[in-house]
């Protein structure tokens, strides 16, 4: 699964990442910070990372993502 990390310390809560995510992976929490609500849907397109004006989002594509679906559960990263 692709990982989306958000640095709250640098985030200014502008909402760009939430509004333009093609898969609606992100949503605002009570403090209006983006939070990942549907990680399974993330396609790893990195548009949220590229459009973040504050460098506060990092999308890490898991290279084993596809393979892991077929492999046994309980991998070291899980």
């Amino acid at each position: 699964m692709t990982r989306v990390d958000i640095y709250r310390g640098w985030c200014k809560r502008c909402g760009i990442c939430i509004a333009f995510c093609p898969k609606h992976v992100l949503d605002a929490d009570q403090g209006l910070f983006p939070t990942v609500t549907d990680p399974e849907q993330c396609s790893g397109c990195k548009l949220c990372e590229m459009r973040c004006p504050d460098f506060a989002i990092v999308v890490t594509k898991d290279e084993k993502g596809k393979a892991r679906g077929k492999a046994k559960s309980g991998s070291a990263t899980g």
């Binding site: 990982r3 990390d5 640095y7 310390g9 640098w10 985030c11 200014k12 809560r13 502008c14 909402g15 760009i16 509004a19 333009f20 548009l47 590229m50 459009r51 973040c52 004006p53 504050d54 460098f55 506060a56 990092v58 890490t60």
Partner: protein, 275 residues
């Protein structure tokens, strides 16, 4: 906590305070990341890159990055950059300017840098307003738009920056918005690798000053506006002038081969030193 580091971090000056000074949702940060992403992809060393800027919100950009940087006087980024390039043509010289900086006070320098075709990759972040000083009309503010200095609407016609630079003779001219991030990266890459003067006009949202007069109250609304009002160069060819009215034409607007000034200068000096 998981250890993840944004790739941009290795190009930032750790002595500077972050988050940066730009307002929440400002387009300059999006452009900054695209620029660093392309420099990283092209593999330029930090010592080989020189970033020159003038005065304004976007001109604050070189302050944050760990390249050779020069924060010059208002409108004079291109004059300083020309000097740097001629003193050491091996350097990759980049200028970052805003619309007020580049086409108002620095308008003359812009057209003559393009005419001379000095190899400078210049980026003009166009937010249609003087953001840093409080939202006054700039030369690119659209006719009729209300600003702090034109509360009843701007009476002047807006400058077409790309058209101006193309007519002045630049080797490469492109226009994009910060919403179109992949296109922005492609244009930045073409600009950085182009022989001769190149200019990319980056339309960015000023949420604090431009947006509230336009009735667009959030960065999301402003970026959605960019998305809904842009047409690519290819599509624009099939549209009538009426259909194109009010639209932003994005893409590569000019790409041509012209001898660069520093090449001509090197040829001349080599010839004269032979005697």
């Amino acid at each position: 906590m998981r250890e993840t580091s944004h790739f941009v971090h290795k190009y930032l000056r750790s002595s500077k305070r972050f988050p940066h000074i730009w307002c929440a949702g400002c387009g300059i940060g999006i452009f900054m990341q695209a620029l660093i992403r392309v420099i990283d992809r092209l593999g330029y060393s930090k010592d080989a890159v020189v970033m020159v800027s003038g005065i304004g919100c976007s001109s604050r950009l070189p302050v944050y990055v760990d390249f050779n940087t020069l924060h010059a006087t208002h409108g004079r980024a291109l004059t300083f950059a020309t000097g740097v390039k001629l003193a050491n043509p091996d350097l990759k010289v980049i200028t970052i300017m805003g619309d007020g900086d580049a086409v108002s006070i620095g308008g003359n320098h812009l057209i003559h840098a393009a005419r001379r075709n000095v190899e400078i990759a210049s980026f003009i972040v166009n937010n249609h307003v003087y953001g840093m000083t409080g939202g006054q009309s700039s030369p690119t503010t659209a006719y009729g738009t209300k600003t702090t200095s034109a509360p009843y609407g701007n009476l002047e016609a807006a400058f077409d920056i790309s058209g101006l630079v193309e007519a002045a003779g630049a080797a490469f001219v492109g226009r994009t918005t910060v919403y179109h991030t992949p296109l922005m990266e492609r244009l930045v890459e073409k600009s950085l690798t182009k022989k001769g003067f190149s200019m990319v006009e980056v339309l960015a949202q000023c949420v604090t000053y431009s947006g509230r007069w336009l009735g667009l109250n959030s960065p999301v609304e402003m970026m959605a506006w960019q998305r809904d009002n842009s047409v690519t160069v290819e599509k624009a060819q099939d549209l009538t002038p009426d259909e194109l009215a009010g639209k932003i034409v994005i893409g590569v607007l000019a790409d041509r081969e012209r001898p660069s000034y520093e090449d001509e200068y090197a040829k001349l000096t080599a010839e004269k030193l032979k005697v």
